[in-house]
């Protein structure tokens, strides 16, 4: 199916109705496998059992940036291609991205206390992630502040594209500045430095959380389309009542 076919909300709803149950089932299965592998993974020789926090912290951190990337593509869809579902995708991704960013910050903090001796440090990686979280909250507030969805969409799209500057800053902050946070150990030149005993559970959990995002996002987009139909019908109802 071409992307342009999905420009029709009714066709999009039909597609989501068919694939959402399969996606939800795949998500649940991958999460169960990932959790089992995380529990069975050996202790790290330096970190001990706290390495298990990595299996939830890293997927959430990856997704916090990936979701903003999805919103940036959707922002281009709104501003350049004027795809009818682009702003629906952007609006509904923001709360989910905010949740992933919140979880990355909280689990990182809970991992940092036993490993670094502190819950928080104002270094480049942690601060840029906090800024990402605040930008998500700002976008959500913007969507709520402007009643007309099409006007809100354009303002949010511009803000999203400006905010995308933060993504390479987060990614390369550990290389550009001195930071408590460890450098990249999976997506790096020369391949991952993680042992397979940790890498495989981590990748399974990353896949599970990615499937979770796709499932939740499609379901939230379906809700938003229905919400706009409600709004359209309420406006028709108000017009009729005024005419009567």
């Amino acid at each position: 199916m071409m992307l342009i076919d999905l420009a029709n909300p009714t066709r999009f709803l039909s597609l989501t109705a068919r694939i959402l149950p399969w996606l939800a089932a795949a998500t649940a299965i991958m999460l169960l496998i990932g959790l089992y592998q995380s529990a069975a993974a050996p202790d790290d020789y330096q970190q001990g059992a706290t390495v298990k926090i990595m299996f939830i912290h890293v997927p959430n951190a990856w997704l916090s940036m990936f979701v903003w990337g999805v919103m940036s593509v959707a922002a281009l869809g709104t501003l350049v291609w004027r795809h009818p579902l682009a702003d629906v995708a952007a609006k509904t991704a923001a709360p989910i991205g905010a949740a992933f960013t919140f979880l990355a910050l909280v689990t990182g903090s809970l991992w940092g206390r036993p490993m670094w001796g502190t819950y928080w440090e104002w270094d480049a990686r942690l601060t840029s992630m906090l800024i990402l979280f605040l930008m998500y909250l700002g976008l959500i507030a913007l969507w709520r502040a402007v009643e007309d969805p099409s006007r809100a969409a354009r303002a949010a799209a511009v803000l999203t594209l400006v905010g995308a500057i933060n993504l390479p800053i987060i990614k390369f902050s550990v290389d550009w500045w001195n930071t408590l946070h460890q450098p990249a150990s999976v997506f790096r030149m020369g391949g991952p430095t993680l042992d397979r005993a940790f890498l495989i559970p981590l990748l399974v959990m990353a896949l599970a959380f990615s499937l979770l995002f796709v499932t939740l996002h499609l379901a939230a987009m379906r809700n938003e389309i229905l919400r706009r139909r409600v709004r359209a019908l309420q406006m028709m109802q108000a017009t009729r009542q005024q005419a009567a």
Partner: protein
């Protein structure tokens, strides 16, 4: 499975992730039911789309 001296940090991390994921699922599922209910009420009151098709029609 022994989680060592930092078990509380590990369990709290997994617990918070589970709680937030569960909250997202319940929030989205509840929102879906609410929107369908509103559409049903509006259509029951005689308001219909210009196309004449039901707002819940997805075929």
């Amino acid at each position: 499975m022994s989680l060592g001296p930092y078990a509380s940090f590990i369990v709290t991390s997994y617990g918070i992730v589970a709680a937030v994921v569960l909250f997202l699922i319940v929030w989205i599922a509840t929102d879906y039911r609410r929107q369908r209910e509103r559409l049903r009420e509006l259509e029951a009151s005689g308001i219909s789309r210009r196309s004449g098709r039901s707002a819940m029609d997805i075929q």
